[in-house]
């Protein structure tokens, strides 16, 4: 049963930034091929939580286990890819083609300073094709549209075949068609390659339409399996506050996102 292999286990986690507690007593686990939407109000600690899970920030208390190993001893970082909030904001003059950028994703501990092997270039081509970027492979990244940029960064992350991908709000300033296409690609990745995905987003409809779990973060962390029985409104109220009202009907997913659900 691949679905029950935990890739991320968090127990009793406390994280602070500049002495202020940001995450308090988080307990959750994410299994292989989960597709988790991380939601919550601004300043609620979503990015801080991601930073702790990626070992960018020290933990105040608690444990994080990645692929069964304590984060302090974890070394297989090549299994993990991270696409930051600022990834798609770069100088438009930056001299990089799509293919060159995606190929940077093939660098890992074992091949630093060495030539790429044939398999590496094959992985680059495969990622470019998977994300539907073949037509723009030789274009400079500065010439791409917002939606294409997002897909390029996912393609870069995919080039080293990660098992777990973290994305931090990669959909700012992109129109809804491009967003839809982006989420569709992530769904494909999740279902076809069993890649575990954790994505910070404000797009609640996408979370409830496409993803398998929702993680609400506002100092406290609450994770719920997305099923037809789940009371999304009640769950979100606990994270966003009593005034928050989220109307969601499952039938809305068809129409907006096609009929895969």
């Amino acid at each position: 049963m691949p679905q029950t292999i935990p890739v991320l286990e968090v127990q009793n986690l406390y994280v602070s930034r500049s002495g202020e507690p940001v995450i308090e007593n988080a307990n959750f686990s994410v299994n292989q091929s989960d597709y988790v939407g991380i939601v919550g109000p601004n300043g609620g600690g979503k990015t801080t939580l991601l930073c702790a899970l990626l070992n960018f920030l020290p933990l105040t208390k608690g444990t994080i286990r990645l692929f069964g190993e304590d984060i302090s001893k974890f070394t297989s970082w090549e299994k993990i890819a991270y696409i930051s909030q600022s990834a798609t904001s770069f100088e438009t003059e930056f001299p990089l083609t799509v293919k060159e950028l995606v190929s940077l994703g093939c660098i890992h501990k074992g091949n630093v300073g060495r030539r790429f092997r044939h398999e590496d270039w094959a992985a680059v081509d495969e990622s470019i094709d998977f994300m539907g970027l073949r037509d723009v492979a030789d274009k400079r990244i500065g010439q791409l549209s917002g939606g294409q940029k997002q897909r390029v960064f996912v393609a870069k992350a995919l080039a080293r075949k990660p098992e777990l991908i973290f994305l931090d709000e990669p959909i700012v300033g992109v129109d809804s068609t491009a967003q839809e296409r982006f989420y569709k690609k992530l769904s494909d990745l999740n279902t076809k390659r069993q890649t575990t995905i954790l994505i910070v987003t404000h797009d609640l409809a996408s979370v409830f339409c496409r993803m398998s779990k929702v993680m609400c973060v506002n100092k406290k962390v609450e994770v719920a399996q997305i099923t037809s029985e789940l009371d999304a409104n009640l769950l979100l109220k606990r994270a966003y506050g009593e005034h928050f009202h989220f109307v969601f009907h499952r039938h809305e997913c068809t129409g907006v996102f096609g009929n895969e659900h």
Binding site: Y82, A87, E93, F94, P95, L96, E100, S103, H108, V112
Partner: protein, 278 residues
């Protein structure tokens, strides 16, 4: 220039290649051009072009020290630049000062150290000028050997680690996760900036070395190439500018550094024009 003048100049130009001093100058110039083109493009992309300027002024302190002690000034310049580059990254890392302020501090410190050494020594006459403004036409075999070795180290490092450096310039955090030893590579790169500056001192002098670092990369960036082609174009512009500069300066007996900078600025204007038209 009339036709006869031009003909005489071209004959002179060809004659020049027969002289050993000119051959040395060209070899030294091309090595410095390659190193500057390579390192300079990364500095531009890192938005740290002024590190080059800061370090080259700091190197002046080292040159003065070398002249005072009777040691090859390029060696002391190298020592002082290395110290300066590590001081700058230390200040940056420990958040003692921002990058540009740290550079300003080291620039001022190195340059004033040079002035003090000069005044203690009672001046070095013409010799110090050859380091301030370069004197490629007087480069000797010892300097040429040093320049070649340093140039080779830059070429090999960039050759092997260009991809990793590019990844770090583009996204340092992600590069660290990917398993690139970002700290160590940054340190070696900083060291190579110092190396590049020192090997360029004889060619273009400490004051103008920043031009050789920045202009070729800027020209190349205007062409909208891929990274690989941009890097090659930067080296190409650098070699071409330096070679033309050295030849023109030898023929017309004008200071080489100034001519090289003018040729490079001309290239820059042409690439700007190209970008505008295309």
């Amino acid at each position: 220039m009339n036709a006869r003048g031009f003909l005489e100049t071209s004959t002179n130009l060809l004659d020049l290649f027969g002289y050993q001093f000119f051959q040395h100058a060209l070899i030294g110039g091309i090595i410095a051009a390659v190193a500057c083109g390579l390192v300079g493009l990364f500095l531009i992309l890192k938005k740290e072009a002024m590190v080059g300027d800061g370090l080259s002024h700091t190197a002046f302190g080292g040159i003065a020290l070398g002249l005072l002690l009777g040691v090859n000034p390029l060696l002391t310049a190298f020592g002082v630049s290395v110290l300066a580059v590590f001081a700058i990254s230390y200040m940056r890392q420990k958040k003692i000062a921002t990058s540009d302020s740290a550079i300003a501090v080291m620039l001022a410190l190195g340059f004033s150290a040079g002035l003090i050494v000069i005044s203690i020594a009672g001046g070095f006459n013409v010799e110090i000028f050859s380091y301030l403004f370069g004197s490629i036409l007087t480069i000797d075999l010892m300097d040429l050997t040093l320049v070649s070795l340093l140039g080779l180290s830059v070429l090999l490092f960039i050759g092997f680690f260009r991809r990793e450096l590019l990844s770090m310039v583009f996204d340092e955090e992600d590069s660290r996760i990917m398993g690139i030893p970002t700290r160590r590579l940054s340190m070696v790169f900083d060291l190579l900036v110092a190396v590049t500056i020192v090997l360029s001192i004889k060619v273009i002098g400490t004051i103008l070395v920043v031009a050789l670092l920045v202009l070729p990369g800027l020209c190349a960036l205007k062409l909208n190439f891929s990274f690989r082609k941009t890097l090659l174009a930067a080296v190409g512009f650098s070699i071409l500018g330096t070679t033309i500069g050295i030849m023109l300066s030898a023929v017309f007996n004008v200071v080489t550094a100034g001519v090289i900078v003018f040729v490079l600025v001309l290239f820059f204007l042409l690439t700007l024009l190209y970008k505008k038209l295309s």
